[in-house]
Amino acid sequence: MELKQLYREIVNEHNLRPVHKGKLENPDLVMRGINPSCGDDITLQLKVENGVITDGKYIGSGCAISQASVDMMVDQIIGKSKEDAIKLAETFMGMIKGDITDEESIESLDEAASLQDVRHMPARVKCAVLGWHTMQEMLEHPEKAVDKVEE
């Protein structure tokens, strides 16, 4: 897909009218992720009950791809177990890096699969994976996360 088309059909919607942007009341896990080279900066907040992600939101700023990607991600992991969410993150990052190409895996990403073509734009790969990487890090190493958003 041409990049302009990707923006028009998918990215803009999430970037301009995000569903999960904002502050979460009493989050269990909070972690900030930054891309130094472009200044993308998100703070992901999750509620986790009995190993299941029950709610999630993010705040921050950055390019449309980073923002849209994290918005899609949150959409997708709410209701999933920690393990499934981590697996999705691995699939997503594998897809963007070009290591995972089988359709079935990619379809499991649902709407986020549309970011597949970012793999041809190495400089944007970091933008696309920022949210996913932060989520994985936070779930695998909860001890590195905090439990509220820094003011």
Partner: protein
């Protein structure tokens, strides 16, 4: 006199498709003459210069040392020994910081740089100040990017040992009052290091007229090959400096415990030199001299004026630096309301327009102007009005592509 448009045919890459290349401040393109000079060196005179007693090595040495003379003339150095070949501006500035800085800056001293510096003229001085317990002082510009007299006269003091300043900012495009700063710094007993990476490609440089103690620039930004840069240093200073990189070619005697060093400029050129790079740079200089800096400036100013005029019609665009296109050195840095610079650049790339987006290796300046990132279009003399038109046309569509309606 040749028409400025005639030079474009020498740049194969510019004629190879429909790309508009507006990232010249990052690196320029190279004309066939430069590429041929490099191949020609390898095909006819290739040997290790400086060491051999046979024809090829003598020819290689001659070509290498002739290149040094071409560079010396080009920037008005007093003698070719004041020209040291390095890899790039960054290495040149590191050399000064390590060899001059560490030996001449002491606890309590100050090093003055500006907030507009490229990281390559910041980090080496942070290193010197950290190791020497000295203070790093920042000059700040006004809205238009200008460092005022009051500003530098208040910050350059008797405690200042080194002033390190960019000649032209790679973000604002503004030319700093280097000559005046040098004069004032000298009166305070400080030496001045000038980062000429963005000025040398665009204007006639005379280091003696500027009064610079050190002057650094890169070949790749001025039609030369990658991998070759220059450090000019006043002979007297270079002579008293200890070497930086050590090894072959830069010695006189070596014993098991000690060594004495070769004369200038070899003292600062350790190991096998990049002779083909120097030869390519000299050819680039000849090419630029043939075009002429008057013609180069005229073309750049014309295009910059068109560019800024066109951009000023888009109310959601903000341009940084001077309102006067003549004061941009071909560099126009901007933002679009509501669109991240990386998205601007990606969208424009879909239309084969190449610009830069990011912090431009000048994060302290970004912090100062309060932007994490900006977009930058930068021109060179081989760009055309037609390209400016295409750029403006495509730029006007970016917000729409990003979902802001027509």
């Amino acid at each position: 006199m040749a028409n400025i448009g005639d030079y474009r045919k020498d740049f194969d890459i510019l004629n190879s498709g429909d790309y508009v290349y507006f990232d010249n401040a990052a690196t320029s393109q190279r004309p066939n003459q430069v590429l041929d000079a490099i191949s020609n060196f390898y095909r006819t005179a290739n040997a290790n210069p400086l060491r051999g007693l046979y024809d090829w090595s003598i020819a290689a040495t001659d070509m290498y040392e002739d290149s040094r003379r071409v560079v010396a003339d080009f920037i008005g150095a007093a003698t070719p020994e004041e020209i040291i070949f390095t890899r790039n501006t960054s290495e040149s500035l590191n050399l000064v910081a390590y060899s001059y800085g560490l030996d001449n800056v002491s606890e309590g001293d100050e090093v003055v740089i500006s907030v507009m510096e490229h990281h390559s003229n910041i980090l080496p001085w942070q290193m010197v100040c950290r190791k020497k317990n000295a203070k790093l002082v920042y000059l700040e510009p006004d809205e238009e990017g200008v460092i005022s007299k009051e500003e530098y006269e208040s910050k350059i003091t008797d405690r200042t040992k080194v002033v390190a300043i960019g000649h032209v900012s790679n973000v604002m495009g503004v030319t700093n009052p280097v000559k005046e700063i040098v004069a004032y710094a000298k009166s305070k007993g400080a030496i001045v290091v000038v980062d000429g990476a963005q000025s040398t490609p665009h204007m006639k440089i005379n280091v003696q007229d500027l009064g610079a103690d050190f002057f650094a620039f890169s070949g790749h930004k001025m039609l030369g090959p990658m991998g070759i840069g220059v450090l000019y240093g006043r002979k007297e200073l270079l002579e008293n400096m200890s070497p930086f990189l050590t090894g072959g070619e830069m010695i006189e005697y070596v014993t098991r415990t000690d060594a004495t060093y070769a004369e200038l400029p070899h003292k600062f050129e350790a190991g096998t030199v990049n002779a083909s790079g120097a030869v390519g740079l000299a050819e680039a200089i000849r090419y630029l001299q043939n075009v002429g800096f008057e013609a180069i400036e005229a073309q750049e100013q014309k295009l910059t004026a068109l560019l800024m005029e066109g951009m000023s019609k888009l109310p959601y665009i903000k341009i940084y630096g001077s309102k006067d296109p003549k004061k941009h050195c071909g560099i126009v840095t901007f933002t679009i309301d509501g669109v991240h610079p990386h998205d601007i650049s990606s969208v424009l790339n879909d239309d084969h327009v190449c610009i830069r987006a990011g912090h431009h290796c000048a994060q302290p300046l970004m912090q100062f102007i309060g932007e994490g990132s900006t977009a930058r279009a930068s021109l060179y003399f081989y760009n055309t009005e037609e390209e400016v038109k295409i750029f403006l046309e495509k730029l006007a569509k970016v917000r729409e592509v990003m979902g802001y309606g027509a």
